[in-house]
């Protein structure tokens, strides 16, 4: 029992409850002193939640070293945590590999929760009329599905960036390990606050939280804004750490054009998260202030402008989709040559294309606002800048096809997910330009076509590469590999079902199905499509369930795999799995190109024999 309460996570949660209670108490007390009506739920809950998050961070122990530094005491530079065993996964560990796995676990938890929300309201949509949900419940679940999945994806890419980047570049850890732990543990109370909106009245705005609707929504709206602001701060600090680590901790000889593609993708992603995230935080905080203090930023009655919110919001939220997909596309480029046994086609162009997508991504946000009343002269420039994104993305597809062409391809589970990722992302990519082109977009705006399009990009750009990466690096994390048969079952359940689901979404969208609504007209004649979609959604869920069973089974009883399982050239596979505490015992030097598979005599990394 005592051991249980010494776990960082448990202490953090207890402190969070305490902090929330104290916050509510303080605010009520202040209102009493000021002579106002003491109990007003909204400010009390907001202040309580904020204080609760801070207390959580203290309770979990990520602030301890910083408090010691501020108090002028010494702290240990490199801490060896190997004695702690599994317990270090539940506390404030400084090891980037532990933090990576913590992120991964949190991501899976969030995505299972978000997916469950989807299953609930997908069942509701199986036929017309409201079956078992009220409209408000439907709206809340639909909104939370969107935002919880987004946070899950952000956490998931942080998982792979944290776990892989220091290993791929030959660093012993991140540049700022304490900041790394802080960033991870901030995401936990953020997720809790976000989900707490479910019991605080929910919110009915969709994940975008547009005012003026979000100004009038229940208190759950505030929890959404606060949770996302905190999660955003967590990704800002995480991406700062990634950029500095990549700039400063590379192994000797790893010049920029010898970095793995995933490292290029990570830096491109991090540039967006580091900067643009502040603006979604700002826009959400401005709505919070509008609700709390009556500041009329987005209230035309007070001289405000609701369109301003959309500009601030989409300035982050469009590049955010590149944050979601760039690491996934990087993972595809990273793993594809291993299974094709051929050099990555056009390495330099692929490396540059990630940066290009990130930079163009800053200039395209207005295409979300073609139908919103944005100044008309902005439409055409945004249309062209958006279409321009297709060029560097096309470079990536060209490279993948060139890599696969005449390769000696083997079809292990990770490779299957990579190929599915490419196909699904192609579907998502081809359905993008109709939404970027003003004339077609005015017809497609806010229909299920958009829903189908972005589910394709998210699955192709994130979910499939993410599963591929788990199957691929699981042996590195645990020393055991995931079961191949269950992996293939997972794949064959999920992939066809998903493709059917997304194509049906686009079909009903073009036939007139609006997005974000709980009910639809039976006269539109697509009830059968909705039934098929619902069945497909449950088959996807079944696939994910098979995956989770596989993980729990393989972690204990899976086939032992400590060597270079995939016959990769990457440095992390040249040492036995799982990785030791501070990564490489012998430092390595980069002496060749990273992806020269199948070229006789080529060497990528050379380990120093003695130090």
């Amino acid at each position: 029992m005592r051991k249980f309460f010494s776990l960082g996570l448990v202490r953090g949660l207890l402190w969070q409850i305490l902090g929330t209670a104290i916050g509510i108490g303080i605010l009520t007390g202040i209102r009493q002193l000021l002579g106002l009506a003491p109990w007003k739920p909204e400010p009390a809950m907001v202040f309580g939640a904020l204080l609760g998050a801070m207390f959580f961070l203290y309770g979990v122990g990520v602030l301890n070293d910083w408090i010691r530094v501020a108090a002028g005491k010494e702290i240990q530079e490199h801490i060896d945590e190997t004695g702690l065993g599994w317990r270090r996964y539940f506390g404030a560990s400084l090891d980037h590999k532990v933090i990576g796995i913590q992120y991964l676990t949190l991501s899976l938890v969030l995505m299972v929760v978000g997916g469950t929300f989807a299953l609930i309201f997908r069942s509701e949509l199986a036929t017309t009329g409201m079956q078992f949900l009220t409209l408000m419940e439907y709206n809340t679940l639909m909104s939370l599905h969107g935002i919880v999945m987004i946070v899950g994806i952000l956490v998931g890419i942080a998982a792979f960036m944290n776990y892989l980047v220091p290993m791929l570049i030959g660093a012993r850890d991140m540049s700022f390990p304490r900041l790394n732990a802080f960033a991870f543990w901030l995401a936990v109370p953020a997720g809790i606050i976000l989900l707490s909106s479910l019991v605080l009245g929910g919110f009915d705005t969709g994940w975008t939280g547009y005012p003026p609707l979000s100004v009038r929504a229940p208190i759950g709206m505030q929890m959404f804004f606060l949770g996302i602001s905190l999660a955003g701060f967590s990704t800002i600090l995480g991406s700062l750490n990634i950029i500095v680590t990549i700039i400063r901790q590379r192994a000797p000889g790893m010049i920029p054009f010898r970095m793995p593609i995933f490292v290029w993708a990570s830096i491109a992603t991090s540039i967006i998260s580091l900067t643009a995230t502040q603006l979604i935080g700002l826009s959400f905080q401005m709505v919070m202030f509008e609700r709390l203090f009556g500041m009329g930023f987005f209230d035309p009655g007070k001289g405000g402008n609701p369109i301003l919110f959309q500009h601030l919001f989409w300035f982050y939220s469009h590049p955010a989709v590149y944050v979601f997909v760039l690491p996934g596309l990087g993972l595809i480029s990273e793993m594809l040559p291993v299974f094709a046994r051929k050099p990555l086609f056009g390495y330099k162009w692929v490396a540059i294309s990630s940066i290009a997508i990130a930079l163009i991504g800053f200039l395209v946000w207005g295409h979300h606002m073609f139908a919103s009343g944005m100044a008309e002269y902005l439409r055409v420039p945004f249309m062209y800048s958006t279409l321009l994104v297709a060029v560097p993305t096309g470079v990536k597809f060209f490279s993948w096809l060139g890599t696969l062409w005449r390769g000696k391809i083997t079809y292990e589970t990770p490779m299957l997910f990579l190929l599915a990722g490419i196909v699904v992302f192609l579907l998502g990519g081809l359905t993008g330009p109709p939404n970027a082109t003003i004339s077609t977009d005015l017809h497609l705006t806010d229909t299920y076509f958009i829903v189908g399009h972005f589910h394709d990009t998210m699955f192709g750009g994130y979910v499939f590469p993410f599963f591929a990466a788990i199957y691929y690096w699981f042996p590195k994390m645990t020393g055991r590999r995931l079961n191949e048969k269950l992996g293939k079952l997972h794949f064959w359940l999920m992939t066809p079902a998903f493709i059917v689901l997304s194509l049906a979404m686009m079909r009903v969208g073009m036939l007139g199905m609006r997005r974000r609504i709980g009910d639809y007209d039976p006269e539109l004649n697509f009830v059968i499509d909705h039934k098929i979609m619902t069945v497909a959604a449950f088959i996807i869920a079944l696939g994910v369930l098979v995956f989770l069973i596989n993980v729990f089974w393989s972690i204990r009883k899976g086939e032992v795999a400590t060597g270079n399982l995939w016959n990769s050239r990457s440095p992390e596979w040249q040492v036995p799995s799982p990785m030791p505490m501070h990564n490489y015992e012998k430092p390595f030097e980069v002496v060749g190109e990273p992806y020269d598979y199948g070229l006789p005599g080529s060497v990528y990394v050379k380990f120093k024999e003695s130090e």
Binding site: L240, V244, R248, L274, G281, F289, G303, G304, F315
Partner: protein
Amino acid sequence: MEHQHKSSALLLGLLVFGALAVLTAVEFVFALKINLWQFLVLIPLIKAGLVLYYYMHISRLFEADLDANHESYAYKLLTNRIGLWLFLLSDAFIFGGLLLSRINLLGLMRPDLNQVLGLAVTSILLISSFFANRAEILMEFGERKQFILNISITIGLGILFLVGVVGVEWRLAPFGPADSIQGAIFYVMTGFHAFHVLTGVIFLTIVLRNGSRGLYSAEKHWAVEASVVYWHFVDVVWFFFYPALYLIGTLAK
């Protein structure tokens, strides 16, 4: 030789401060005489450039590593500097977003604020930046007592600025946050900035306490440098916020 080097560094700090003061005065007078917004955008940019180069030492980011050992103090120092500057870059986007919101919502109108008070708090923050610069230079030469004196003045001026904005200006302003869009913008911009000033004051106070206990030396004083660079950054933000709130445009009714 060292003495000469030190006095020339202090003199440079004074010269930069003089230039900033003159530019601020010109900005103020120009705004009252001929209100050209282009001019009121240009001057803060020049001021920011001066501070970025001479006070915040942005060129230090591009120095080559003298020690390639990743565990050495010199190597970690540059790593820390890059980390801090990336944080400032990120933070700059929040303030940029606030400025854009102000332009979008108010355009060429400005809220009705007390000009004397505005100029006073601006001067206070500018002077505090000068003393912060002195504190850092004196630490570089290991003059602990002088360092403590200068950083204490910086903290005092920072607190004075906070009192001026939050304590006085927020009371004098003829509108509350909920009254008009001018009020909303004014309180959110000064509020975000004041929050940063407050964190800067706390940061400087921690550095003052640890410095007076002799934890920093001429060779190793990253915390001093970080707190001072952060302080200058907060000042640079105010370079843009001051004309945006007090000077640009005509008075809103």
